[in-house]
């Protein structure tokens, strides 16, 4: 296995041109916090040296960085301007990596989806073409948003080298509250009672309520939550860490929010994002994963594996056919990983 560690975009372009002409199969690697299985890979392209800040003016509420930058470095950069890119993933993860993995944002109810925070992207195709899409403005409808295809593409279409991110002010106050008991029913009641939470997260033995904003609104909502059940302040890191670090395989179900109780019913361990529709379920073996996927499919959702073996799961045939044509255009030699 070759390890290629380009220091700049030109190096990525050279690598991909050479790989296409030699038919070298390349897997793009960021911080290794989210990877997909890829058989028969000849080389890994590490993006972590592409870590420069390209442009950052807090007044624009945009930040342009190279995609190999670690989230920890980005957090420190943005914190100086009292801002954040609201992605709650480990410090070691890279910006490009979490975009390529389209990670869930636990605080989605307040901060929205990751895919809506990427406003401009530069990527290098499988055959070494440098492509840019979007613009460094918070709003833009100029042309086709190719960056949206790369978001969640797991390195199958190209190497993300640079992105402009929509950032937001750090909340004035943030509190994470924890219940003494868990379960979907209690979580659902909390979601109904707390008007504008950042997150309501259910596990089998606790419910977390994340509140963010101005001091008065956080206090008011904490009061409302406490009227439902006794809640104590909790360590927010429990919220930010990827769930089930001990499990070898974790599936991330995505269903319509009201289907979450059915989705996690009967499982000893789960984490569900109320009002959003994500549920993380650890699976001890292939049979367990298949069972999770069958149930999620019957609920109209999908369940990619976000840790371990098992892949991203099936894609609707028509969407898959369109996707295959896009893949052929961006990676004509098929040297990047396949889904």
């Amino acid at each position: 296995m070759d390890l290629i560690h380009p220091s700049d975009e030109a190096g990525v372009i050279d690598t991909m041109r050479a790989a296409t002409s030699a038919r070298t199969r390349v897997k793009v690697v960021g911080g290794r916090t989210h990877t997909i299985n890829a058989d028969g890979v000849d080389a890994e392209l590490w993006t972590t040296s592409l870590d420069r800040v390209i442009a950052h003016d807090p007044a624009e509420m945009l930040c342009v960085v190279e995609a190999g930058m670690r989230l920890g470095d980005l957090r420190r950069l943005l914190r100086d301007g009292s801002q954040e890119w609201p992605v709650d993933e480990p410090d070691a993860a890279t910006v490009g990596g979490v975009i390529a993995a389209d990670v869930a944002l636990p605080r989605q109810l307040r901060v929205g989806c990751l895919r809506d925070t990427v406003v401009e992207m530069v990527f290098v195709t499988g055959d070494g073409r440098r492509i840019r899409s979007g613009a460094r403005t918070v709003k833009n409808v100029t042309g086709y948003d190719l960056h949206r295809l790369l978001t969640g593409s797991f390195g199958m279409l190209g190497v993300i080298t640079q992105v402009a991110l929509k950032v937001r002010p750090l909340p004035k106050v943030a509190r994470t509250l924890e219940t003494r008991e868990g379960g979907m029913e209690l979580a659902t009641r909390l979601l109904d009672v707390v008007p504008l939470p950042a997150a309501v997260i259910a596990e089998h033995d606790r419910v977390l309520v994340r509140l963010e904003g101005w001091p008065e609104e956080v206090a008011e909502q904490a009061q409302l939550a406490n009227e439902v059940t006794v809640m104590a302040d909790a360590d927010p890191h429990g919220l930010l860490d990827p769930p089930f670090a001990d499990a070898s395989v974790v599936a991330r179900a995505a269903v319509a929010p009201s289907k979450l109780p059915d989705c996690v019913d009967g499982y000893e361990r789960y984490r569900a994002l109320l009002g959003v529709g994500y549920a993380w379920i650890p699976c001890e073996d292939d049979t367990a994963l298949t069972r999770v996927r069958e149930r999620v499919a019957s609920l109209g959702g999908t369940a990619p594996v976000v840790r371990g073996a098992g892949g991203l799961g099936p894609v609707d045939p028509i969407a898959a056919a369109i996707g295959a044509r896009i893949k052929a255009a961006f990676d004509p030699a098929g040297i990047l990983v396949h889904g």
Binding site: S133, V141, L149, T302, I318, A319, A320, R325, A329, F330
Partner: protein, 470 residues
């Protein structure tokens, strides 16, 4: 396949559908008015079998020529698909047909405590299908995001007549995010037959404020100061003196006609948060020599203040008989420079310009007013339009913030994208539409230009059709 009256070949009708709300006129072939996804699929199959170009059309309020048919294309009009299919507050989503008016959806949702957040100024008559295809914006997209952030899934009929669901009712779908490509694709990838939209909780409290300034620069600087204070208002709209005077004469909203510029600011959330944000907004404005800070005392006053903003384009006819409206977006910190540049361009070409725009987003809408009966006016208008686009691009902006590219801006695309960028976009388009029959000649420049649309159309144009929005 379709019901009686659903296929129209009448020359007068076809003439009516030969343009949208832009200045560009094309030529419509057959018009079809399907009432269901099955009927859309049947029409698309016929078009495939006969090799016909197809142009999807909603309410026709687009301002960039996206729904203007060329080469006698088959026009698939979705105005008869106007049902709200399913409202599911527990899932925070609703399924709607493409012809549903934006405001009708918001009104229907209100009793559930949720809303559909994007609110383009055309919302009384623009359709969800059209909003999806232009990735429409609106004043409240500053805090809530544009259409793309509010579309979970789409039912689409592809150019070959195949029906597909892209995206998912859940928070993520399987495979590439094709949903994200179709939203904003200006009818070039397929016909949307239903949209699954996200519902947003209606904020319990809202406060609307009107701030006036003696200097435009102070008004623009206040926008940045508000943001720097960590406040993201629900809306942050700026209007300059010219537009304020026209609006005030029209809407009688009590706008200060002696101010150089005004800011309409709206903050929302829980009552406690609204009070805190309003304080920050006022403090920011005081730092930049604000004149009066008017806070709407009740819903009636709030409605009146918004009436002023939303009727801006009805009011424009008072300035001169004709106008040409732009839609550019620049980095927020460049607002003052670009505004000063726009005034200089207008002066150089002896044109009247007024500005009303989504300041928080850096989304400008310079509006040139003129009288085409004065010889030489057209040339000056076109020269000014070209300069405005280049001014915004040079400031690091994009060609369009919310109206789209269509035909109007198509030939400017090489200003912001390389040939390779455009080629990659063309490849994605071809992945949906290998035969190139969907809304041909739109968005991407072809090797050969099909004439200068803007010039030809302006020469023909009278005033813009009644009811044009930004």
């Amino acid at each position: 396949m379709l019901g009686p009256g659903a296929v129209v070949d009448d020359p007068l009708e076809r003439r009516l559908y030969a343009r949208d709300a832009s200045l560009v006129e094309g030529s419509a072939g057959l018009l079809v008015f399907p009432t269901s996804a099955d009927e859309v699929a049947a029409c698309m199959t016929v078009a495939r079998d006969h090799g016909l170009p197809v142009v999807p059309r909603g309410s026709g309020t687009g301002l960039a020529g996206g729904a203007t048919p060329l080469e006698d294309a088959l026009v698939v009009v979705t105005t008869k698909m106007r049902r709200i299919l399913d409202v599911r507050p527990q899932d925070r989503l609703a399924w709607v047909e493409p012809g549903v008016f934006n405001l009708d959806l918001a009104t229907a949702l209100a009793p559930t405590g949720f809303t559909y957040a994007p609110d383009p100024s055309s919302q009384q008559v623009s359709s969800i299908g059209g909003n999806v295809n232009t990735n429409a914006g609106g004043p409240h997209c500053l805090a809530y995001g544009v259409t793309s952030a509010h579309v979970l899934a789409l039912d689409v009929v592809l150019p070959d007549g195949t029906r597909a669901r892209i995206g998912s009712e859940g928070p993520a779908g399987a495979g590439y995010d094709l949903r994200g490509i179709v939203v904003g694709s200006e009818g070039t990838l397929g016909v949307v037959t239903a949209a699954c939209v996200r519902l947003t909780p209606i904020a319990p409290a809202v406060r609307t404020m009107l701030l006036d300034f003696a200097r435009v620069e102070d008004c623009a600087a206040t926008v940045s100061s508000i943001v720097a204070r960590g406040v993201v208002p629900a809306a942050l709209e700026m209007m300059d003196r010219g537009i304020v005077r026209a609006v005030e004469a029209f809407a009688h909203a009590g706008y200060p006609t002696d101010a150089a510029a005004v800011l309409l600011v709206e903050v929302d959330g829980l009552e406690a948060a609204v009070a805190a944000q309003a304080r920050e907004v006022e403090t920011a404005a005081r730092e930049h020599d604000v004149g009066t800070v008017r806070v709407a005392a009740d819903d009636a006053e709030r409605t009146l203040l918004w009436k002023g903003r939303k009727s801006a384009f009805g009011a424009i006819a008072r300035i001169a008989p004709h106008y040409h409206l732009h839609d550019c977006v620049v980095p927020r910190t460049k607002l003052t420079d670009v505004l000063v540049g726009v005034y200089a361009i207008a002066k150089r070409h002896d044109l009247i310009v007024t500005n009303v725009f989504h300041a928080g987003d850096g989304n400008l809408h310079p509006l040139f007013s003129f009288d085409l009966s004065v010889p030489g006016t057209l040339d000056r208008v076109l020269a000014a339009a070209d300069e405005v686009v280049r001014l915004c691009v040079d400031a690091g902006g994009a060609l369009s913030g919310e109206h789209g590219i269509g035909l109007e801006k198509r030939d400017f695309m090489p200003l912001v994208f390389t040939a390779e960028d455009l080629d990659a976009q063309a490849c994605v388009r071809a992945a949906f539409d290998p035969d190139g029959r969907m809304n041909p000649h739109k968005v991407l420049p072809s090797g050969a230009r099909c004439g200068d649309f803007a010039a030809a159309a302006l020469a023909r144009a009278g005033a813009l059709p009644e009811g044009t929005w930004i």
